[in-house]
Symmetry: C2
């Protein structure tokens, strides 16, 4: 198993990949597009993508890429995001004059950063990349904001732990592959569909699940670009596509939907976590 991720070693996506499988080989990529390309070309068996965050919401860009590419979702991971301020061993907080990190991480630590005076804040392409920069250029007056793992990877010391503004900061990642998941533990399916622009069309669409007692674990509407008043719907259901109820519901949905695509059927993080716990026991 070789998982492509966006970022440098020590990135949050890498931590999520290792949470999924701690034996996996890892392939750092510059952009999300490169993660898809690595999986499509066979350079990696899997790719990992952040799709939603508890503070910032759904990362529509990665849903767009899932729709543009034909690589099924085969798994999911949730990861609590904790940002840490780290520097070369020996550098104290008082000596820090520059703080480096990815723009999203800087935005999530705004309150902490406002409390630091006389410090310049510099944006980089990567949280872990910032830690790497501090290490490789021996920046004795600088600190990076990154994951605990990045501190380990680059031999930095954590000056302040958990500096993010909101403690309940969780990111959900999806794993993609070239072929769909066929294992026994498949218990979640992600579907994207669009509907005719008529009152009640969403209600009809959801009836295909409700009539079969299938709950929804996510539902989100999103305007379709360039087509005002038309929406895409992202829906997750807690049931695998090989379950007859799921198969029937999706055939039924196809009757109403203007377009429909199953992005994948896979083991939920909840079921995978318990499987991992069983293996460890």
């Amino acid at each position: 198993m070789r998982i492509a991720f966006q970022g440098e070693p020590g990135a949050y996506s890498e931590a999520a990949a290792l949470r999924f499988s701690d034996h996996a080989d890892l392939l750092p990529c510059e952009a999300f597009e490169d993660v898809f390309a690595a999986v499509a070309s066979g350079k990696a068996t899997h790719g990992i993508l952040p799709v939603e965050n508890s503070i910032g919401g759904t990362i529509h860009r990665n849903y767009d890429l899932l729709l543009e590419n034909d690589l099924p979702i085969v798994g999911e991971v949730t990861l609590p995001i904790t940002h840490n301020l780290m520097a070369l061993p020996g550098t104290s907080l008082k000596e820090v004059r520059r703080i480096l990190s990815h723009p999203q991480a800087l935005a999530q630590c705004e309150r902490f950063l406002r409390g630091m005076s006389g410090v310049s804040v510099e944006a980089t392409y990567d949280t872990a990349g910032s830690a790497k920069l501090v290490k490789e250029h021996k920046l004795t007056d600088a600190a990076a904001i990154a994951s605990e793992r990045a501190a380990k990877v680059f031999g930095l010391e954590i000056l302040r732990a958990e500096i993010q503004d909101y403690s309940d900061n969780i990111t959900r990642f999806l794993l993609i592959s070239r072929t769909g998941e066929t294992g026994d533990h498949v218990d979640k399916t992600s579907v994207v569909f669009s509907l005719p622009n008529e009152p009640g069309s969403l209600f009809k669409a959801l009836s295909v699940f409700a009539l079969r007692d299938i709950d929804l674990t996510k539902i989100e509407s999103r305007p379709i670009r360039g087509r005002p008043w038309e929406y895409l719907f992202y829906v997750d259901i807690p049931i695998g596509r090989h379950d007859l109820r799921c198969a029937r519901a999706l055939v039924h949905l196809a009757e109403f939907a203007r377009s429909m695509r199953t992005l994948g059927s896979y083991p939920s993080w909840k079921s995978r976590e318990s499987a991992v716990a069983r293996q460890g026991a």
Copy 2:
């Protein structure tokens, strides 16, 4: 009318406030919390808040603040976001050694920034604040990423226009006030509710709208913090609360919902835009 917004003069929130009413007085605030405080204390009659972006998704933080505070939504505005690189008149692109902006804007211009070599990228608290910094400190080697309006406000020249990675970058803003909207043009209502954790409960909840031929213009589920498997739902419907169908649907919804709150009933941006066009004609 005095509208509080987060950021410096020239911020995108300010542009959205002026799009709503070009005669309004404007009150810059440091944080979103301060926008709510300014409206609650009467320092401003209205506040304006970004709530969703076509690339980045829903800004859950501002929905949290809408729920924590008791200030109704009284209007909405959508604003296309175009980022521009701007510098002091006379500074050429070649002379730029530092680029300053808010982390979110830097993240939305990542492709452009990767193409610039030998330039340091610095994060600030504000897009417009960066333009102000370039102006006030007479930074001849620096450029800011901000709105066209910020260039005008601070007398900067645009070196490159529309440098955002994705052209279809639109933000939706909501206006809040101390008292609800009672005008004739109220045609949109935003509701937040939670449901018992049972299969089909969302379907039942949506039936209150479908049975009355009321469409949904937004639906989004969001896990409730600290209560696994329970969800909040954000729903927008294209009908005012004083319409009998809306009133009946909400009473009906209250029968199923574990909790329910109407965040406000207001003129949609679509209807306001046509009203503004009529006044101008």
